[in-house]
């Protein structure tokens, strides 16, 4: 079987682990999917296309991801909610040196207390992935969300 297809299967595993960490309240496992100097940014589609540098969530290191998790656990005040990631169309785009450039589409469904499940966000992941001790990890993930508008608060990473 082709290297390409095999790599895609591994990328799908990485994405499944990513989604599970966020959806099953295993937030502490989420930063472990990134390398130490990884960047993670959530950007609205319009600004991304205009090339504006701001991000709704802007992390320049795994430590910053860990600070995000710490804040979610100890600092921020928010209503309990359930999130559900659906990730589709995972694809490897090109390999350049040690870096695998990949992309995927996502949707996140949200359920708030006493409410029905609704679409919270949809968009795409633009990734740079590297192999660390044989395991694929994110060196960079940019979440480009289709809506410029966030319904309420963006409590958890997308």
């Amino acid at each position: 079987m082709s290297e390409r297809l095999l790599l895609r299967l591994e990328l799908e595993e990485l994405n499944a682990a990513y989604a599970a960490a966020l959806d099953e309240d295993a937030l502490e496992q989420w930063p472990e999917l990134f390398v130490a100097d990884a960047t993670y940014r959530i950007v609205p589609r319009d600004d991304f296309e205009r090339g504006l540098p701001l991000a709704v969530m802007h992390c320049e290191s795994r430590a910053m991801l860990e600070d995000r998790v710490a804040a979610l656990r100890r600092a921020s005040v928010y209503a309990p909610r359930a999130l559900r990631h659906l990730i589709s169309g995972v694809r490897m785009q090109r390999i350049d040196g040690a870096v695998i450039h990949a992309a995927a589409s996502y949707a996140v469904l949200q359920t708030l207390p006493e409410e029905l499940t609704t679409v919270f966000s949809a968009g795409r992941y633009l990734d740079e992935v590297v192999r660390e001790d044989g395991v694929l990890k994110f060196r960079s993930r940019i979440v480009v969300f289709d809506s410029v508008l966030v319904p309420g608060s963006l409590v958890y990473p997308l």
Binding site: L52, L54, V56, A63, A71, A75, Y78, L149
Partner: protein
């Protein structure tokens, strides 16, 4: 609305029907957003060149901000004069003219109607009546005021000057951030809050909550009751500013009363919070509320305008435009981008606020005849040299009652 009670002059109680009543909302659109006020519509830096446009709102009224060939800024209703089509659908862009797609009536960048296709008919048949005058069918033009790169619009026939509208105290604080330097737009955040728009102003006119709700502000001393602070208003009370100075992460008499103070809370990557002083004076944070739809945020090095777009009584959009200065160096830009983590829909600080506003609306909606209690710092409206007060909220409602005749 008619049958609702609110004792004249009462400012320490705000009845909850104000936040959900459809008639109240309609009157707000007419008297507040449609009245002799200046509503923020955007930054001039978003439309730098001729023909650059931006969709915006005055209350819930859709408008287009567009720069014409002369470089002047125009604000027109996003509604064709022919049959009402919302002609501008792109959120931003550049155009040589404003053309409505339905019948291609074409307006210049000032909103003047320039062309009506087939106006003269064909072969002597059809077309507009002989007495049809293009001048009678321009787009609705709003009054425009710009100061140091910030653009306001007014639907009133003869609004006051922006400077008189703000008053000297607010103007000084406005000019502190908008000092005339060219601005650089860094990006946007937008969120739809399921709550009444007034809750947003109450939140930013309420220094009390900041010392209690926000673990980040309290723990890292970014904004806390035991630090030198003041609340400043204009003479009407409609505008206000919370001014404070950064402290440290150490316990004090005050922190004892603050459940949110966490002495052991540490950042693994301290770059998130490495502010540098960039404004004259001691203040490290100034949060200014400008009636009726603007908040100017300066918290450490993160700068933003926050525009309110009302979406009925039960929701509003909050549009954050983050900016720096054209002469920022790379380090300062990086700093602003990092500190932006505190703000917006995912803000380490602001999430608490957007959640509180939704909790508030959920709590007050079922009890229209109950009321909020605003007695902190007394029952009057006056500037204070501290932040343990709700005086700015009382000031807001004093003006609100006047304008709304409620």
């Amino acid at each position: 609305m008619s049958d609702r009670a609110w004792p004249p002059g009462e400012l320490t109680r705000v009845p909850f029907w104000l936040y959900t009543d459809a008639e109240v909302y309609a009157r707000e659109q007419q008297r507040i957003f449609g009245g002799p006020s200046w509503c923020y519509v955007g930054l001039a830096a978003e439309v730098p060149g001729p023909g650059d446009f931006l969709r915006s709102h005055v209350g819930d009224y859709p408008v287009v901000l567009v720069r014409d060939e002369s470089g002047a800024l125009n604000v027109v209703a996003n509604r064709c004069a022919h049959r009402g089509v919302q002609f501008c659908q792109r959120p931003y862009g550049t155009a040589r003219e404003l053309m409505c797609p339905y019948h291609q009536w074409t307006y210049d960048l000032r909103g003047k109607l320039r062309a009506v296709p087939l106006r003269k008919g064909l072969r002597g048949q059809g077309g507009m009546p002989a007495d049809f005058r293009l001048e009678d069918h321009a787009l609705e033009r709003l009054g425009v005021a710009e100061r140091h790169g910030v653009v306001f619009a007014s639907r009133a026939a003869a609004p006051p000057s922006l400077e008189d509208y703000l008053g000297p105290a607010m103007l000084a604080l406005f000019d502190r951030v908008f000092d005339g330097r060219a601005l650089r737009v860094l990006g946007h955040m937008r969120q739809r809050i399921r709550g009444n728009w007034k809750l947003m102003f109450e939140n930013i006119k309420d220094p009390y909550h900041a010392s209690l709700l926000h673990v980040f502000l309290v723990t890292f001393g970014l904004f806390r009751a035991d630090q030198p602070s003041e609340v400043v208003m204009d003479t009407t009370g409609r505008h206000a500013a919370l001014v404070s100075r950064r402290g440290e992460q150490k316990a004090s008499a005050a922190t004892a009363e603050m459940k949110s103070f966490k002495a052991d809370f540490r950042l693994r990557d301290a770059r998130l919070l490495d502010p540098v002083r960039e404004f004259p004076g001691e203040a490290t944070v100034v949060m200014q509320t400008i009636w009726p739809n603007l908040i100017v945020q300066q918290q450490s090095n993160t700068l933003a305008t926050r525009q309110l777009v009302t979406r009925g009584p039960d929701a509003f959009d909050l549009i954050w435009t983050f900016f720096g200065y054209a002469d920022d160096d790379a380090a300062m830009t990086a700093r602003r981008l990092r500190q932006a983590n505190l703000m917006g829909p995912a803000g380490l600080v602001s999430v608490d606020d957007s959640e509180m506003m939704e909790f508030s609306h959920a709590g007050l909606s079922p009890a229209p005849d109950a009321a909020a209690v605003l007695e902190l710092g007394g029952r009057d409206v006056a500037d204070t040299p501290h932040m343990i007060t709700e005086t700015a909220i009382r000031g807001f409602y004093r003006h609100y009652r006047e304008v709304m005749e409620l």
